[in-house]
């Protein structure tokens, strides 16, 4: 573990931190990501890309991308964090390193609106005929959109407790033990 931290730090002048007994975290500049990932894959044996996840930091006007890679021999995970600009989100395409990155990149393109130059199959992926802003961005108001688009059944407009709704309809008294579970 310490050996890996040392190697990463020396090669790229980074500060890798140990998070758990088998987890490392590296914060990397946007331009350096593909080099770090290629180094991890070819030199240190992190041959498997688990996942690429994305976090929307709307206050900082940034997206955070997390590349999770895994070494099956030593059972170590490395989380490569990077931040990109939110108003013009463009990230390097890494499907030359791992083919399966394509799926995650297509999903991020659709759900967050991040562009990957040279992405294969850069068309709609899971959603169909989506006309709003990408739905996983934090400034997309899911509840308001759902209320506008999908009609609620009368009587269940808000998520009030069913017991109270029934009580109102039937005129029955709600027993004391049930009151503490009600949401209002």
């Amino acid at each position: 573990m310490n050996n890996i931290i040392q190697k990463i730090n020396q090669t790229f002048t980074l500060k890798a931190k140990q998070k758990n007994e088998n987890q490392l975290r590296v914060d990397v500049d946007k331009n350096l990501v593909s080099s770090v990932l290629l180094y991890l894959k070819t030199q240190l044996g992190f041959i498997h890309l688990n996942h690429i996840s994305c976090v929307d930091w709307i206050e900082d006007n940034e997206f955070e991308l997390v590349y999770i890679v895994w070494d099956p021999e030593n059972k170590i995970t490395v989380l490569v964090h990077t931040r990109i600009d939110r108003s013009n989100p463009v990230m390097e395409n890494i499907d030359t390193i791992w083919d399966q990155a394509n799926t995650y990149e297509r999903e991020m393109r659709e759900m967050f609106g991040i562009e990957f130059p040279g992405l294969v199959g850069a068309k709609e992926f899971i959603l169909e005929d989506w006309q709003e802003i990408p739905p996983m961005r934090k400034d997309f108001d899911t509840a308001a959109y759902a209320e506008k688009t999908y009609q609620k059944r009368p009587g269940r407009e808000n998520a009030r407790d069913v017991r109270e709704e029934l009580m109102k309809r039937t005129g029955e008294e709600l027993p004391d033990f049930a009151k503490k579970y009600s949401r209002d």
Binding site: I126, L127, E128, D129, Q131, P135, F140, T142, A143, Y145, A146, E147, T149, Y150, Q151, K152, R153, R156, A159
Partner: protein, 217 residues
């Protein structure tokens, strides 16, 4: 060999209008009531027999839309054995009687479900399965799932629960059989009559009715 005097001697040539009419009546008995018993008692009896036969052979389209489909194998196999009630799977929508909507419907799936429903032949029944089809369930504020199914398709029976156990599923089917026997089930006509209303609701959700190229063969 003596000829039957009742048999008409047929001439070869262009048939007369009368012959064509008679042939049509003979060929398609439903088009005409000529020469048939048509009093109310007989109709009632025929209706009863038809409904009895229908309710004991419910072919369910093998199409799982949401997570609820996981209960269907359990319902169909030996422990709960839905085939006791005449419930069994059908491979294509044109062979099926029952469309079972198992769980949440995303708008993408709804488009396919409407297409499947419109392919099915009368009499057709819809069973909405799970609380997602009733009021959205746990996906009530999702951006991509519908809330109330009966705005988009007519529904015969709802099965509540998240998810309903095989007993409830069978209870729902038994309820459907009851409705069929009473003549209250079957919603194809209702759908056709109120097509404008259903289309209006469907178009609020489905923006583009074209299917991707791989669907249009």
């Amino acid at each position: 060999m003596t000829k039957n005097p009742n048999t008409k001697i047929k001439t070869i040539g262009i048939p007369s209008e009368e012959e064509i009419r008679q042939a049509q009546i003979d060929f398609s008995p439903r088009c005409s009531s000529a020469g048939r018993v048509n009093d109310k008692e007989t109709q009632k009896m025929v209706r009863y027999i038809l409904d009895f036969a229908r309710k004991h052979s419910l072919f369910v389209l093998a199409y799982g839309t949401g997570c609820g489909a996981i209960e269907i194998p359990a319902t169909m196999t030996s422990r709960y054995d839905a085939e006791r009630f005449g419930i069994r799977g059908a491979a294509t929508p044109r062979q099926a009687d029952v469309l079972l909507i198992t769980g949440y419907l995303s708008t993408k799936t709804l488009k396919r479900v409407i297409r499947v429903y419109e392919q099915m032949q009368d009499p057709k029944y819809v069973i909405a399965f799970g609380s997602c089809t009733i009021n959205g369930g746990m996906y009530f504020d999702s951006y991509n799932t519908i809330n109330a199914l009966d705005r988009y398709l007519p529904v015969d029976v709802y099965i509540a629960g998240c998810m309903p156990r095989p007993e409830s599923v069978i209870k729902g089917f038994v309820k459907l059989q009851e409705l069929i026997q009473n003549g209250n089930a079957g919603n194809g006509e209702c759908y056709r009559k109120n097509l404008d209303w259903y289309r209006e609701n469907q178009q609020k959700v489905i923006k583009n009715w074209n299917f991707p190229d791989e669907y249009n063969w």
